[in-house]
Symmetry: C2
Subunit: 445 residues, 2 copies
C-alpha cells in the first residue's frame, strides 16, 4: 500500500476502503501518513481507527503532532488514549506537553496511578528510571509452568514484553527471570523456581542510560530489569527503546566533538535562536583562546617581516596539525565511548600515536618538501623549515590528540570535549612556536 | 562473583568450585575472563565447561582468541563447536580465520551445509545477507496453534529466536509472520493462517545493513525476515546483531568526518601501519589543497608586509571559520544519517543556517571588535577589518557547511566526507580572500 494511493482514497473520501487499508498497516506508517495531512483531516481519520490501533498510532506521533491532537480531542477521548498507552510512552508525553494538559491528564488518573506518575516524572533525564516502563509479566516462584503460561495468556496483551518474565517475592524483590522460550519448551508441571535464572543482571533507577545501553550491547538482551535502592523491581527497559538511546548518545558525541552544547531537539524543529545558542558559546571560547596564537605571531613579527613568505605556509601547517590531532582524538573518544579503550590503555595509546605520527609525519614532510622546493621556488632552507615543522607538528598533535581524551576521562570530564576544535586551538599555538623556532635557527634570523 | 575471586580459584586450582561458578555466569562474562588468561590456562578451563556453554563462550571470544583456540583444539572438538554454533556466528568466524582452517571446517560439513556456507560467504560485506542467520522457526498455514507450540517446544532450543515465527509455503515463499506472544495468548484450536500477520515487512539479501538498521529503529522489531529475489525466505536478522550495526555505522561516520578512511579494526588491535595508512591519504589531499590558501597569502604579501599585524589575526579567523562550518556540517550529516533531514529540506537548511550564522556571526564580531580594539591596541580600522571579516566568514562557513552535505547526498557521495576538515580547507581560502579585500578597501592599501 503506497502513500499516493492512500492519499487518493482520502481525497476521494473513500473512507471505508481507507479504513480497511489502514487497519492492516503498521502503526508507525499510519502515524507518518497522518502527520503529512492537515490536522483536521488527520483528526477525522484518527477517530476512524479502531481504538487499539489509534492508541498505537498516537504513541508514534511526533511531540508536536501529539500536542496538536491533545488540544483537539475531547476529554473522554484523551482519557482513553492515556489509559491505554504504555506507561513509558505516557510519561514521555507528559514530559513534553504544556502544564495545563498535564493537569488535565492527572485529573483523570486514579490516585495510586497519579503517585506513580509523579514518581516517574522525578527520575533524572537520561537515567534508567526515565526510560523504563512498568508493564512487565510478574511471576511467583511457586507457580508451575502451566500456571505461568495461563497467567501470560490472560495478561500478556497489555505488557510491553512477555518474552522475559520477572519472578518477585511478596516484597517485590527481584528473585529471578525466566524467558518465554524457557517456559514454552519446559515441562508444564515444573515449578518456576526450578527453571528460573537467579543470576540476574539488572540496573538501578538512577543509572545513566548510556550504562544501560552498554549492558544491552554486551549481552544482547531483549529487556533489562530496573530495581530501586532496596532491590525491589520498579520497571523494565526494552531493547527498542535502547536503540534510540544508542543513536542519541552518538549524536550527543557528534555535537560535542563539533564544539556544540548537546541538545535532543531535532534540527528541522529547532528555532534559529535555539540552534544559535547551542553553537555560540564554544565558538566564543575558542575564538578568545585563539588570541594566544595571535600573540605568538605578534612576538615574531620581526621575523615574518624579514621573510614574509613564511606566512604563506601558516594555514597549511595549522590545518594539517589540526586534522592530525582530530583524527587521533576522534578514534580515542569513540573507543572510550564504546568501551573498547580504557584508562589502563593510556600507555599503549601514547606509544601507538607516537608510532603512527612518525610514519604519517614522515610521509607528509617528504611530500611537502619536494612540493614546495620544486613548485614554490622558496629555496632549500625554507622548504626544510616548513617540512621539519610539519613533521614535529604532526607528532605533537597526534600525541596530544590521543592523550587529552584519556586525561579527560581520568578526571571525569566528558572525553568528547577534547575533540578537533579544542585540539586545533592548542596545536595551532604549539606548531607556530615550533615553526618560528626552527626558522630562527635554520635561517639565522 | 567477581573477577578477582575467580582468578584466585584458578590460581589455587580449585576447579570444581570454579566450574560451578562459571556455569551460573553469562557466557559473555566467561569469555571475557578466559581472554584475560594465558591461552593454555584458558584452553584448560574452556575444556572444563559444559558443551553448550563452551559453544556460547566461543561465540563471544574476540577473533584473535578464536583463532588461537582453533589452532589448539582437536579436530573433534572443533567439529563440535562448529556444529553447535549459530549459523551467523559460524559465518563470522569463517570470514576471519585463515584459509587452511576454513578448509578444515568445510571438510567436516555435510554437502548441503557446505553449499549453504559458500553461498553465505559470497554475500557482500555490510549486506543483509552477511548478517542474517538461518535458525528461525518455520510454520505452516494449516497448523493449529497447538501444533505450532508443540513444534516450537521441540525445535526452539536451537533457534536464534522463537519470538517471531515465519510462515512459508512449500516453495519457501514467505506468507506471513506470527509472534510467540500471539501464539501463547490465542486459542489453541485456531489455525496459524487465522492469526498470522500477512503484511510482513522484510528486506532483501543484498540490502545494505544501514537500511536494515533503519527499519529496526523505525518499527522496534525484534527480528526481520530476509528474502531472496524470488521472495523465498533465506534467513532472519535479530535485533542484537543490529545494535552492533548501529554502532558500526556511527563509528564509520566519525572516522570519515575526521578525515580517515573507515575501518572496522579495533584501535587497540590494529597495527601502527594499518592505522597510519587509513589516516595519511586524506591528510595528504588536505595538505595539498591548503596550497591554495598559501597562494592567496603570497598574492597579498605586499599588503601583509606593510601592515604585518594583520597576520596575527589569520589563525583566529581561520579557526573560527572552520569551527563554524564544522558545527553546521556535523548537524546536517548526522541528520541525514538518521533520516531526519532529507533532500527536499535543502531550502530550509540553507535559510536556517543563514539565520543562525547572522546571529552567531554578529555576536562573535561584536565581542571580537571590543576585545581587539581595547586589548590589542591596533586601532579602530584594523579592529573593524577583522570583525567584519569574522562576520562574513561565519556566514559563509555555516551556509557552505549546511549545503555541501546536501549536495553530496544529491550526487550520491557519502555526506560524511563533507565534514570539518574539508569545509575548513575551503573556508580558509574564502576567509582570507574576504580578509584581504576588506583590508585593502578599509585601510586603503
Amino acid at each position: 500500500m503506497n502513500e499516493r494511493r492512500l492519499k487518493e482514497l482520502i481525497r476521494d473520501k473513500k473512507y471505508v476502503t481507507l479504513k480497511r487499508e489502514l487497519e492492516d498497516m503498521n502503526p508507525v506508517d499510519v502515524a507518518e501518513l497522518l502527520e503529512s495531512l492537515d490536522v483536521h483531516t488527520a483528526l477525522l481519520i484518527f477517530r476512524m481507527l479502531p481504538k487499539d490501533l489509534a492508541v498505537d498510532v498516537f504513541a508514534h506521533f511526533s511531540v508536536e503532532q501529539q500536542r496538536e491532537l491533545i488540544g483537539l480531542v475531547t476529554d473522554k477521548e484523551l482519557k482513553h488514549i492515556i489509559d491505554e498507552l504504555f506507561f513509558d510512552d505516557m510519561i514521555d508525553i507528559l514530559e513534553e506537553v504544556p502544564a495545563n494538559i498535564v493537569k488535565k491528564i492527572l485529573i483523570h488518573a486514579k490516585e495510586d496511578e497519579r503517585n506513580l506518575i509523579n514518581q516517574f516524572l522525578k527520575y533524572p533525564p537520561e537515567s534508567a528510571g526515565s526510560i523504563m516502563t512498568i508493564e512487565y509479566v510478574d511471576l511467583k516462584k511457586a507457580m508451575t509452568v502451566r500456571e505461568a503460561l495461563a497467567h501470560i495468556k490472560e495478561t500478556g496483551l497489555d505488557k510491553e514484553t512477555v518474552y522475559t518474565c520477572y519472578v518477585t517475592d511478596k516484597n517485590r524483590k527481584l528473585e529471578g527471570i525466566v524467558s518465554l522460550r524457557k517456559l514454552v519448551i519446559s515441562d508444564e508441571d515444573l515449578l518456576i523456581e526450578d527453571i528460573m535464572d537467579r543470576d540476574v543482571i539488572y540496573v538501578h533507577t538512577h543509572d545513566d542510560q548510556e550504562t544501560v545501553a552498554g549492558i544491552f550491547k554486551r549481552y544482547g538482551f531483549l529487556a533489562l530489569p530496573v530495581v530501586d535502592k532496596e532491590g525491589r523491581l520498579t520497571g523494565i527497559i526494552t531493547v527498542d527503546d535502547i536503540m534510540d538511546v544508542i543513536d542519541q548518545e552518538a549524536t550527543e558525541d557528534f555535537q560535542k566533538m563539533a564544539a556544540m552544547s548537546p541538545t535532543e531537539e531535532k534540527y528541522l524543529d529547532a528555532s534559529i535562536f535555539s540552534l544559535a545558542k547551542h553553537r555560540v558559546v564554544w565558538l566564543l571560547v575558542l575564538m578568545i583562546s585563539a588570541t594566544f596564537t595571535g600573540g605568538i605571531i605578534r612576538k615574531f613579527e620581526g621575523l615574518l617581516q624579514s621573510v614574509v613568505v613564511l606566512t604563506a605556509f601558516i594555514p597549511m601547517l595549522m590545518d594539517t596539525g589540526g586534522n592530525s590531532g582530530s583524527q587521533s582524538s576522534t578514534l580515542i573518544i569513540r573507543g572510550i565511548a564504546l568501551g573498547e579503550i580504557e584508562l589502563k590503555d593510556a600507555r599503549k595509546v601514547v606509544l601507538k600515536e607516537l608510532g603512527i605520527s612518525i610514519v604519517v609525519g614522515a610521509v607528509l614532510a617528504v611530500v611537502n618538501f619536494f612540493r614546495i622546493y620544486l613548485f614554490d621556488n622558496v629555496g632549500v632552507l625554507i622548504s626544510l623549515t616548513v617540512s621539519l615543522t610539519l613533521f614535529i607538528t604532526v607528532v605533537i598533535s597526534k600525541v596530544i590528540g590521543g592523550i587529552l581524551p584519556m586525561i579527560a576521562k581520568k578526571i571525569n570530564i566528558d572525553p568528547a570535549i577534547m575533540a578537533g576544535p579544542l585540539i586545533t586551538t592548542i596545536v595551532d599555538a604549539l606548531s607556530l612556536i615550533v615553526y618560528f623556532s626552527i626558522a630562527s635557527w635554520l635561517l639565522n634570523i
